[in-house]
Assembly symmetry: C2
Homo-oligomer: 378 residues x 2
C-alpha cells in the first residue's frame, strides 16, 4: 500500500474515527486504526465494537486532488501514536507506505517515521446494513433532536435499557424519548419520503453523544437505516454504525399527565438563571433541591435553604399564572438540563399538584416535551 | 459592615484572592475569604498560610465610583460558595451587609442570599513587611523571568530547597536560578535604583506560578521587598505575599562548563518542532530520550528509536556547526521546555562532549541560560 495525501484531510478523517477507538477494548486489534487505500480514495476505520466509524477521503473531489500515487492495500496502525504523528508532520502532504512485512513508513518533508503495523485481514469486518430501507433528514435537525433528549438517559447500569434513547419512526413521525425514571425528554419530527418504519429501537446514549460531536452543524442530509441490532448514520464521507440495546423500552406515554391544575408561562433564560442561582447553595446538603411557589397572578418565588450554609430567595415576574396556587420542590439540575434543551425564548410549565410530574414545553410547540418528577418536601 | 459595589470589580478581586485559598488547609478559617470595608475602599484577603493575597478595590478611582454607602466592618465568608454567587448575580451592582450575629446578606436585583459568616477577628494577621527596603521592575519583565526559570524547579520533595527558585539581587543585578539537578534555568536582569540587596532567598515555585497567573502582562511596575522569611510583590491594587523556603540553595555556578567543544546555531522553532516529532514515539519505553548527531558543517540528525513501536529520524539544516563531531542523547522534554522558555528566534547550543552538560542560549544574549544534562546511551 502506498499513497500521498493532503495532511489536513488526513487529520480530519483520523480525528473522526478516533472517536470510536478505545484503549480499553478486549479485542487488541481494535486499539488500532485501519487504513484502506483504493484507486478512488482512502477509507479510515475505527471501532470499539459498540460504535464503528468509517471516514472516506476521495482521491479527487470538486476537481481538487486529495490523494495521489495510490497503490492499493490496507494496514492497521496503533491509534495511540498515529494521530499525534500526523498532526505534527512538517509539510502539507504526507506519504504513507507499507511493505509485505507490515512495516509502515510515514514521510513528510525530511521527517520519516517507521512504525510496526498489523495485518488488516485480522481487523473485524463491519456488519453490512441494507441501506434501501432508510430515511433522510437534515444533519442539524438530527443534532438538535439528540441534544434535546440524550441528557435525560440513565447513567446507572441497573436498568441498562434506560441508558439508551428510544427511537421510533411511525406514520412519518420520528420520535426520540429518553428517561432515567426521574425525568423524561422527548422530541418529535415529521419525516417525509421515508422508505421504512420501525419501533422498539433503543440507541445507546453514548453513541448519540459521539455522533453529535462528529457531525458538523449543516443542513446537509444524513441517511439513517436500521436492522435488527444496528443503526447506520451515513453522510457524504462518513459511516457511523452503532449497535442497538437489547430489551424492551418501557411504555412512557402513561407517565405524562393529561390534565393541568396550574399553568405558568415564563421566559426561559430568566427562569434558568434564577434556578441556577438558587441551586448554588443546594449542591451538597440538599441534593440540588429548590422550591418554586406561585405568588398571585404573575410572580413566582424560587428559594433554597441549606441550614449549614445559608439560604437564597428570589422573586421573579413571569408572563402568566393560570389555575391553583402551587408550592413544589424539584431538582434544580433536572430543571436546568430541561430548560437548556429547549431552544425557545418562552416556555409553559403545566403542574398537576406538588406530588405529580410536571411538564415543560416551548410556547406554542408540542414537538418538544420535558417532564420532571418533583421531590417531596412540602 | 455594609457596602454596594460594582459586580465586575468584585468578581475580579475575588478571582485574584481565590488563587491563595485552598479547601485543604489545616486552619479552618483559611477556607474562607476575608472582606474588610473601610471608607476608602474594600480589601479582600485569601491565604493558605504559604501564599497570602490581598486585593484592594478603592471606593473611587479616576472619578469612577466602585463602592458606595460604605459602613465600615469586616467578615469572613466561605470561599466555596461566594465566587459562584457573585459571578451569577443578576445585576451590575451588589449590596453586601453583615450584622452582629455574623449573618451576611448579599442582594442584587431581586435575588437575596443569606449566608453564615465567620468572625474576621479570628482570621490570622498577615506579616507586615518593611517596604522601604525594596526595588521596582516592570511586571512583564518579572513574568518573563518567572516563565524562563520556574519550569525547571524540582517536583520531588526529597530535596525541598530545589522546589523553589533561587533569587538574588547583588550589584544591581537580579538573578533567578532553578534546577532539579538534571537541568538548570537561569535569567539575569539589571535593576537600577534598588534600595536593597539580598541573596540566599528561595521562593517556592508554586508561589511564582500563582503570581505569574495573577499578574497582567503590563509594563506597570511591581515593587518587591524581602524579609527573613517572606517576599512581598506589590502592585497598584494587589499585595502578593509568599513565605520563603528554609535552607541553603546549592552553589550552581560550578555546574556550568566553561569551555565548549561543539557549538551549533539553530532556529529555535524549527529545532523545537523536530524534537517534538522525534519524542512522539519515545514517550513510554524510552523515557523521552532522543538523539542528536552532527552531520558535516550545517546539518544535524534527530532520531529516536522505540523497538516495540518504531523509530523516527529527521535531518535538519541549521545555521552553523563549529568544533568536533558530536553524538548526544538527552530528554526531549527538557529540551522542549528549555527551547520554549527562550523567547528568541535563534539559539546557540554549546556542547562539551556526550557526557557533559550542554548549554542553550539565545543568540547574542547571555542573560538567559538553559543547561541540560545528557543521558548516557552512546
Amino acid at each position: 500500500m502506498k499513497f500521498i495525501i493532503q495532511r489536513d484531510q488526513l487529520i480530519a478523517g483520523v480525528q473522526d474515527v478516533m472517536k470510536a477507538i478505545s484503549s480499553r477494548t478486549v479485542i487488541p486489534i481494535l486499539t488500532g486504526l485501519k487504513i484502506e487505500a483504493k484507486q478512488h480514495g482512502i477509507t479510515l476505520t475505527g471501532s470499539d465494537s459498540d460504535i464503528s466509524i468509517e471516514s472516506y477521503i476521495p482521491a479527487e473531489e470538486n476537481e481538487i486532488v486529495n490523494v495521489e500515487q495510490i497503490e492499493e492495500g490496507s494496514i492497521v496502525l496503533q491509534a495511540k501514536y498515529f494521530p499525534d504523528i500526523v498532526r505534527k508532520l512538517p509539510e502539507k502532504t504526507v506519504e504513507i507506505e507499507s511493505d509485505d512485512n507490515l512495516k509502515v513508513t510515514i514521510r513528510s518533508g525530511k521527517a520519516e517515521f517507521n512504525l510496526n503495523g498489523q495485518d488488516a485481514d485480522e481487523y473485524p469486518l463491519l456488519p453490512k446494513i441494507q441501506t434501501e430501507d432508510s430515511f433522510e433528514m437534515p444533519i442539524d435537525l438530527l443534532k438538535s433532536m439528540i441534544k434535546q433528549t440524550v441528557f435525560a438517559v440513565s447513567t446507572m447500569e441497573t436498568r441498562p435499557i434506560l441508558t439508551g434513547v428510544s427511537v421510533k419512526l411511525e406514520d412519518n413521525l420520528l420520535t426520540f424519548v429518553a428517561t432515567d425514571s426521574h425525568r423524561l425528554a422527548s422530541r418529535e419530527v415529521p419525516i417525509s419520503n421515508a422508505n421504512t418504519e420501525f419501533k422498539n429501537i433503543v440507541v445507546p446514549g453514548k453513541s448519540l453523544n459521539e455522533l453529535n460531536k462528529i457531525l458538523d452543524d449543516t443542513e446537509e442530509q444524513v441517511e439513517i437505516s436500521v436492522t435488527n441490532n444496528q443503526i447506520l448514520f451515513r453522510t457524504k464521507h462518513l459511516n457511523f454504525l452503532s449497535r442497538l440495546l437489547d430489551g424492551n423500552y418501557p411504555e412512557t406515554s402513561r407517565l405524562i399527565p393529561e390534565q393541568s391544575k396550574t399553568k405558568i408561562q415564563v421566559k426561559t433564560k430568566e427562569l434558568l438563571n434564577t434556578i441556577d442561582r438558587a441551586s448554588l447553595l443546594a449542591k451538597e446538603e440538599r441534593n440540588n433541591v429548590v422550591k418554586l411557589a406561585t405568588q398571585g397572578n404573575n410572580q413566582i418565588e424560587i428559594t433554597s435553604n441549606s441550614p449549614e450554609i445559608g439560604n437564597v430567595e428570589e422573586e421573579m415576574s413571569i408572563q402568566s399564572i393560570d389555575g391553583e396556587d402551587l408550592k413544589i420542590s424539584f431538582s434544580s439540575k433536572y430543571m436546568i438540563d430541561a430548560l437548556k434543551a429547549i431552544e425557545y425564548d418562552e416556555v409553559t410549565i403545566d403542574f398537576t399538584g406538588a406530588m405529580r410530574p410536571f411538564i415543560i414545553r416551548p410556547l406554542d410547540d408540542t414537538s418538544i416535551l420535558q417532564l420532571i418528577l418533583p421531590v417531596r418536601t412540602y
